[in-house]
């Protein structure tokens, strides 16, 4: 097994009734746990949205670099961003960014010692989800209105 430097490895060795050793199974975890409960679901979403936002920065760099490189390069970039591939990517980055900001505020609140009880955790969780939807749509309305005018 790969975890040769994991102290828990020693506990994977058990004994049969006749005294010979046997490799114990690891009990199921992700396979059986309710990972869709809000606590762990929003936590993994925070990590995924953070990663997505970081990847999204590549597009930001492309935008800035294209603007610096001149009208031709900028046109190619704008053409891609406006395409049926580019728009969902931009929309996804917007949603990931808003989710990461709002969930990040929720984490800061915990770090200041507030909102640990389970009812509050669920309430703030729903606020983050609803807030992400509202702010993402608002951002796009503002962007489209600004682009159209």
């Amino acid at each position: 097994m790969a975890h040769s430097n994991d102290a828990r490895e020693a506990l994977m060795i058990g004994r049969r009734t006749d005294g010979t050793t046997v490799r114990r199974p690891l009990s199921p975890h992700l396979q059986v746990y309710d990972m869709l409960q809000m606590t762990s679901a929003l936590s993994i979403m925070h990590r995924i949205s953070g990663a997505a936002w970081s990847v999204g920065l590549i597009f930001f760099v492309w935008w800035v670099a294209a603007a610096a490189a001149g009208p031709e390069a900028y046109g190619r970039m704008a053409g891609f961003m406006g395409s049926f591939i580019g728009v969902p990517i931009l929309f996804g980055i917007t949603a990931a960014a808003w989710y990461h900001i709002l969930a990040g505020i929720r984490h800061l609140m915990w770090d200041f010692g507030y909102g640990y009880d389970i009812p509050t955790t669920y309430r703030t969780g729903w606020i983050v989800i609803a807030g992400t939807a509202v702010m993402t749509v608002l951002t796009w309305i503002v962007a489209i209105v600004a682009w159209a005018s």
């Binding site: 102290a7 506990l11 199974p25 009990s27 059986v32 640990y116």
Partner: protein
């Protein structure tokens, strides 16, 4: 490094089905994780059909009924059957809890029962908790003081000082929380996990203990304490309604305050 899949010897196959009596009216299926070190086979899920009209209300009642009447080889820990010993902690219907406190009625459809997650299995529903006990020993869960206790008297606390221990002393060390924590699954070799960190805070918060500084020193570590990412699965699953995440948060705040 986190491994999200099960090792090859740990994948679970479908086992046998023990049918209920033909005249049973209120039948419920219990799918139970089985592993026997003597067979050399992979774990399997056996299905037991139980007549709920002839069974007590809790999941533990069903387990005891199965062991008494259907399959004596079924192995699980239990003792007090009233949520105070912490022996019958297991994964029921996707969440960790005590079988004695979990009403069968609360589960929709078949009742899936697994050992506490991401643990070495000794047999069936019995996990090896040695790592957790070793970690508990490490935080020295007892009163440490250099000042002698008053002669013929206990060490006194004000009501407020005593109240600080509420929500901490009630922990029965069933380890439902630690084994519900994905961070403990992936980093349990070095991360102490919610149960042990709640115990650590229980002694940090005790006004009679004089080793708060040393206790905080011990926890100031990227793995032991700070692998807690406030996922909150611990508080969600605690069968005693405690909040290990909040206790961990308080330790983090004490460390931040100490830094100034």
């Amino acid at each position: 490094m986190a491994t999200f899949t099960l090792p090859r010897n740990s994948t679970v196959s479908t086992g046998q089905t023990y049918k209920a009596a033909p005249d049973a009216k209120n039948v419920r299926s219990f799918k139970i994780y089985r592993w026997d070190p003597d067979t050399g086979e992979n774990p399997r899920m056996d299905t037991y059909e139980i007549d709920l009209d002839k069974c007590g209300p809790m999941v533990l009642d069903a387990l005891i009924k199965i062991k008494n009447e259907v399959d004596t080889t079924l192995t699980f820990r239990r003792s007090c059957r009233e949520g105070i010993c912490g022996s019958c902690s297991m994964n029921i219907d996707g969440l960790n809890t005590l079988a004695c406190l979990k009403p069968i009625e609360d589960v929709v459809g078949e009742v899936r029962i697994n050992p506490l997650p991401h643990m070495p299995v000794v047999k069936d529903l019995v996990p090896d908790l040695s790592q957790l006990y070793a970690q508990l020993r490490m935080i020295e869960p007892w009163l440490k003081a250099d000042t002698a206790a008053p002669p013929d008297e206990e060490r006194r606390q004000s009501r407020e000082e005593r109240a600080r221990l509420d929500g901490l002393w009630e922990c029965i060390l069933c380890f439902c929380c630690s084994t519900a924590c994905p961070s403990y699954w992936w980093n349990g070799d070095r991360y102490l996990g919610p149960a042990v960190l709640l115990q650590a805070y229980r002694w940090i918060a005790d006004s009679r203990d004089e080793y708060m500084g040393e206790r905080l020193d011990q926890l100031q570590d990227p793995f032991r304490l700070y692998r807690c990412h406030t996922i909150m699965n611990c508080a969600r699953t605690c069968p005693k309604g405690l909040n290990p995440a909040e206790a961990i948060g308080k330790v983090k705040m004490l460390l931040a305050e100490r830094e100034g």
